[in-house]
Subunit: 429 residues, 2 copies
């Protein structure tokens, strides 16, 4: 139908080989020195449903964390934020079924006491335990499931695929699939010789109430690379900024978002500091890991049938690009059109224009599903049958070029479906 070329854009999936890494098995346990378990402690009524995850290092190790900026932040966030700042941790404990948010002093007490129970079982100071919760907001958390469940969770700890998988499953709420990642790479090799094999692993939960701000839903990343406290923190922030902070399922930032990094150093060798080649490789692998998990969140968004990637190019500032991309990605009209396989790009234009970022509508280009639909503000004729066929793919691409500058961003989201309304319109019971 048209000779107009699509807008040039980087591929939707991150390539770990850029940083000398490749995907591998192992999930959160891929990093040496990490054990995990996922068990049923009793936060949920169904005894077959895992609801307590523990990710423990063999010894106290370097840690970093990023957390929600929601003013209503949950009790475990308040506890873990202070502890992650110290930079040393032995384990992360996460439960599903109750968010322990909007619960006041009593919630803080439960969060601290649960950490103390795990510390006693692992034989470490309680300040080395990081905690996280997900579930209903505004209900007091009971300590009983921790008392019941922690000894079994510690006895169950293991370092293989199955244990990593159980931990990833134990944090699921409305998630339909566990979301894991693991990477292996060699750093510090010269002319293909020597070097250290290092690993990056992790899992994440998140499906609804997803528009993380400087953090994610609940995520545990691990590495056996010997990062320093400072480089661990820097690498985590960098990874989160271009991954979880670029995901939105429903524009609702959670009260409980927490992302943890445990760096055991078990790969051996010199400590890795910011700015070194080894740092760039490990930080790159962490970014790939985070981005892979971020895409999995969007693809498993509540009720989602499509993973949607929104690229906004040609902006004056990165903030402008982010504002425009988020405006498109959060637009209910764009998201329902995608659900309906409707190439209604006028809604993309309207969403781009509504967010307060200034641009000249006569310059704008838009591609939908890889097909040019708007060039210099004028509609391009499209083959609607071809568009319907392209909508069969599991992934939908939207690219907007404002031609106002050279800054760009990428945001991941999903479509908006009947199933989202069903999931979230259901009474809490």
């Amino acid at each position: 139908m048209t000779d107009v070329q699509p807008i040039a854009c980087t591929p939707p999936e991150a390539d770990p080989s850029t940083f000398g890494f490749a995907f591998c098995e192992g999930g959160v346990c891929a990093a040496k020195g990490i054990k995990a378990s996922g068990t049923h402690a009793g936060f949920r009524a169904d005894p077959n449903r895992l609801d307590l995850a523990v990710v423990a290092a063999d010894e106290a190790c370097v840690c970093a964390g990023t957390f929600t900026k929601n003013q209503f932040c949950a009790a475990p966030v308040q506890v873990s934020r202070a502890r992650a700042d110290v930079g040393v941790a032995r384990a992360v404990m996460l439960n599903s079924g109750n968010a322990n948010a909007s619960t006041g002093e009593q919630g803080l007490k439960v969060a601290r006491e649960s950490a103390a129970l795990l510390a006693k079982e692992l034989g470490c100071p309680e300040e080395q335990i990081l905690v996280a919760s997900t579930g209903v907001i505004g209900q007091q958390q009971d300590l009983a499931p921790y008392v019941e469940g922690i000894p079994g969770a510690v006895a169950e700890l293991g370092a293989d695929n199955e244990h990593a998988h159980a931990a990833a499953r134990a944090v699921m709420t409305t998630d339909t699939v566990p979301k894991e990642v693991s990477l292996e790479g060699t750093i510090g090799a010269k002319n293909g010789r020597g070097g250290r094999v290092v690993h990056v692993g992790g899992f994440v939960k998140g499906s609804g109430m997803i528009m993380p701000d400087m953090a994610t839903m609940l995520c545990v990343l691990t590495t056996d690379a010997p990062l320093t406290k400072r480089s661990a923190h820097a690498a985590l922030l960098q990874a989160v900024r271009s991954s979880f902070n670029k995901v939105t399922v429903d524009s609702d930032t959670s009260t409980n978002d927490s992302c943890f990094l445990l760096a055991t150093g078990e790969a051996g060798g010199e400590p890795i500091c910011e700015g070194s080649e080894a740092y760039k490789a490990v930080a790159g692998a962490l970014r790939v890991a985070a981005e892979t998990l971020a895409r999995k969140i969007a693809a498993d968004g509540e009720g989602a049938t499509k993973l949607v990637t929104v690229d906004v190019l040609g902006c004056e500032t990165e903030k402008d690009a982010d504002t425009v991309a988020r405006s498109i990605a959060n637009s209910p009209l764009v998201k329902t059109a995608i659900f309906g396989h409707d190439a209604n790009w006028g809604r993309v234009a309207a969403a781009a224009g509504k967010c307060g970022v200034s641009f000249d509508q006569e310059k704008v280009d838009i591609d939908l599903l890889g097909v040019p639909v708007l060039r210099a503000g004028m509609p391009v004729e499209v083959d609607e049958d071809d568009m319907l066929k392209r909508f069969e793919a599991p992934e939908v691409s939207i690219v907007v070029d404002l031609h106002q500058g050279s800054e760009s961003t990428r945001i991941w989201t999903c479509d908006f479906t009947h199933e989202y309304v069903t999931i979230n319109g259901d009474y809490r019971t």
Copy 2:
């Protein structure tokens, strides 16, 4: 269940008697000197569906207009904005079925030529014709329906209820009901004697793509009060700010939002200037009219089953209050919970906390459906059966007091339903 008192808050519906007015019949034709028609011109295939509305003054009169801030603004917006600035108009012509947005130079040409056709028929300069369109974005508008339809639309003009009603129906898209208002009051009376009877009328369309910014969807307000150009403009801005600009159905600001005021002066008497008692009364009545129509938009939001009023109190600035209220009103999780009759106030807390406005969670009070659910950041026990009964009412109230200051705002929205997804997921055909 609880002795905790609800947060004190003004009633949800505006009271016109505050300004010496009462609701009356007549719609947009309530103002003397105004005639209207609603006819089928051919923008839509169905010959039984009205698609062209004309609201004409008997002679050129004072006018004012406010318009979308969307950077993708439609051709009729570009044409009308310049003309409304002059402050004199004879008529407003509105069509449904095509938005004439993202249509470049050709769209502007059609908008201007359609106005010229109406001007010729009415015998006035074409610059006195204001135009507005609503419908699909990104499709070129055809001039043929205007050529076909305008003579009939002008022949059909009448000053009664039925004609006002037909005009209100002709601008409907996914609206399920026409939305009209009319008020009558006396201004300038002393000790109950003398004074002038004045009227305010209007209609509005709007159901989806609704989060107007400094304007509304398509709205025509009329009055026979002898407002000056300046006072008409001031009164319209003031009315729009606290009404249409406080409505959000789906956070999507349209490319076509336009709100017009025609002031015929047919009520007679001295011109009404800003600051006078008469101005306060007429501006107040216009605000009541706009607020009444705004509530009708929210209640008729695409797929809506509930009108939702969000009051946010105790903020440091009005902007903070607006940001928090909008964050709650646009939260898909809050809106689906209301659809599901779920008193899940934790989602209201999360939405309040996510928007970047700083507050102390330990101070916050929340009422849902008139029932205290959070006090000083701690949950208040509620009777869930009672809440389910309260959800039977057509209107849902959410009140949040941050206790950070004395500024407040009110926002209207609706719930988020399967029907919204169905309406907007349907292929355009």
